[in-house]
């Protein structure tokens, strides 16, 4: 049975798709059979970030409507044979997602994969509800600013009340926090919330802090999950996230400002 992971946030633009692609690629690179699903029906993006937009034939909605089977719709990643992408439909809307249909697809994926990563749309409407309903684990992507934190808090309340695990009184969804677009210098100056500020409100298990990085945009535009860019701090942060998710205990990086020595200041970038 696969573990179903939802990447969610409430707020838009915080890095859900970036995280979904990085986490899925990271898990697959470590030998786990992984599927990543785009739940943002009508505004599909995951295929672009994964660099497979020109290979989409069938999509998630086709599978839900039994117009195609899963093996036809799943796109195998060219960089990692353990990774498969199920793109969203760009021509339909979120009402195509029916709970029973999504349940059927999840069950089928569960049989063939170790992990199923669900990339949730923003908001708390139907699409987001469908993405999180069958989840075993939830990664809450949050930016260090108050509106994002509050939306995450709201999403946590929904996870605790409206998921399948909540409705069947099973073990609750495991909730993790991923803090993205973190800028230690701005935190130090006091114009960005710190990890502690965010944790005071959300108090979740911290899966990782991903620093604000130009490399993320570059990677997205190139259709390469950022985790493959091992030089960038964001890529390294996502590698840590994957390891921590799989149970490794690692100290958190990228929280402090880098103290530059004299030589570094003279010859550094």
């Amino acid at each position: 049975m696969a573990r179903i992971i939802v990447i969610t946030s409430g707020k838009g633009g915080v890095g859900k798709t970036t995280t979904s692609s990085a986490l899925a690629m990271g898990l697959a690179l470590r030998g786990h059979r992984t599927a990543v699903i785009d739940f943002d029906v009508g505004l599909r993006n995951l295929d672009l970030v994964m660099g497979c937009e020109r290979r989409v034939v069938y999509d998630f909605v086709n599978v839900l409507n039994s117009e195609a089977n899963l093996t036809q719709a799943l796109i195998k990643d060219k960089r990692c044979e353990n990774l498969f992408i199920l793109p969203a439909s760009q021509t339909r809307d979120k009402s195509s997602l029916k709970r029973e249909g999504v349940g059927r697809v999840m069950e089928e994926l569960s049989r063939g994969f170790d992990y199923v990563v669900c990339d949730s749309p923003a908001g708390i409407e139907h699409g987001a509800m469908m993405a999180m309903y069958y989840a075993d684990d939830a990664i809450i992507v949050t930016n260090p600013e108050i509106s994002s934190v509050r939306d995450s808090d709201r999403m946590l309340g929904i996870l605790a009340g409206k998921s399948r695990r909540a409705e069947t009184a099973a073990t609750p969804i495991r909730e993790y926090l991923l803090l993205s677009r973190y800028d230690p210098e701005r935190v130090q100056r006091g114009d960005m919330m710190s990890v502690d500020d965010v944790q005071e409100i959300l108090s979740l298990e911290l899966l990782g802090v991903v620093p604000e990085s130009k490399a993320v945009l570059t990677a997205s535009n190139a259709g390469t999950p950022i985790i493959l860019d091992k030089e960038s701090d964001a890529g390294q942060a996502y590698s840590d996230v994957v390891k921590r998710y799989l149970g490794e205990r690692l100290p958190h990086r990228f929280i402090e400002t880098t103290k530059k020595g004299l030589l570094n200041r003279l010859f550094g970038e």
């Binding site: 029916k98 709970r99 029973e100 139907h126 509800m129 509050r150 808090d153 709201r154 946590l156 309340g157 929904i158 605790a160 009340g161 409206k162 005071e200 409100i201 108090s203």
Partner: protein, 250 residues
């Protein structure tokens, strides 16, 4: 939010209304008729089709000629809907005339008007109705204390019907706690807490760390900007004393 739900024909919801109260001071129907005419004459439009509640508190136990009274009120264009106060005998007579017996709760009338003015500011009327369906009713058999050991997240509402509410986790801003009795929060309270929502003026709120957006006891409320900053982040108890909300550091 339930996807498979069929289209329902109606929703059952609670609403609060402020109604004019006709407080009877005597039972002389002739004098009543005269005074009523004079009053209505001054503002006919105001009384036209207005539902009114008859207050019997000052004439408790005295026989009222309800058929006459109802006729008089209707004759002036108003709609008598119920009575408040009075004795069982009076209630029986009122029921004969199709009047409802309303709970004699002076507090509740104050609560209503407060809530009214609150929602008029527009800030919460919307979320109120929207969130109404999210209220988690505590099972009716659990009529004493409700204990919650999880954090209460933004947008969640917990209502302890008929008893006290004890919360062990933090209460996020945007969350709402309600109890007919006391509310205890053993973690930061950042959301709203409304104790004694059915009018119990003896209800209290206890919290370890006061950062609340709004606190209310039996309808007497205070928003965070009206809470003394020296009381913020402090362990406090909140109670009513002579209809005034008191916040006291432990």
């Amino acid at each position: 939010m339930d996807i498979a739900a069929p289209h329902s024909q109606f929703e059952l919801k609670a609403g609060t209304f402020t109604l004019p109260l006709l407080r009877l001071l005597d039972t002389n129907m002739d004098a009543m008729a005269e005074q009523l005419s004079d009053t209505v004459e001054q503002a006919e439009n105001f009384f036209h089709n207005t539902p009114v509640v008859i207050d019997l508190n000052d004439i408790s136990g005295i026989t009222v000629e309800f058929p006459m009274l109802v006729g008089l009120i209707r004759g002036h264009g108003m709609i008598p809907v119920g009575v408040r106060g009075g004795t069982t005998a009076q209630h029986e007579a009122a029921e004969m005339m199709g009047l409802a017996i309303l709970a004699d709760n002076r507090q509740s009338s104050r609560t209503i008007s407060r809530h009214k003015s609150d929602s008029k500011s527009g800030s919460r009327s919307n979320s109120q109705s929207d969130a109404q369906s999210n209220v988690v009713p505590i099972k009716p058999e659990a009529l004493t204390t409700t204990l919650v050991n999880k954090p209460i997240r933004s947008g969640q509402r917990i209502y302890a019907q008929g008893g006290d509410l004890v919360i062990l986790g933090q209460v996020s801003s945007g969350a709402e706690l309600m109890a007919d009795g006391h509310i205890h929060v053993y973690a930061p309270l950042r959301g709203r807490a409304l104790a004694g929502v059915k009018g119990n003026e003896n209800a209290r709120i206890f919290c370890r760390d006061l950062q609340a957006e709004l606190i209310s006891i039996a309808g007497h409320y205070r928003t965070s900007e009206n809470i003394d900053t020296r009381l913020r982040d402090q362990p406090v108890q909140i109670y009513l004393e002579d209809h005034i909300l008191r916040i006291e550091i432990f």
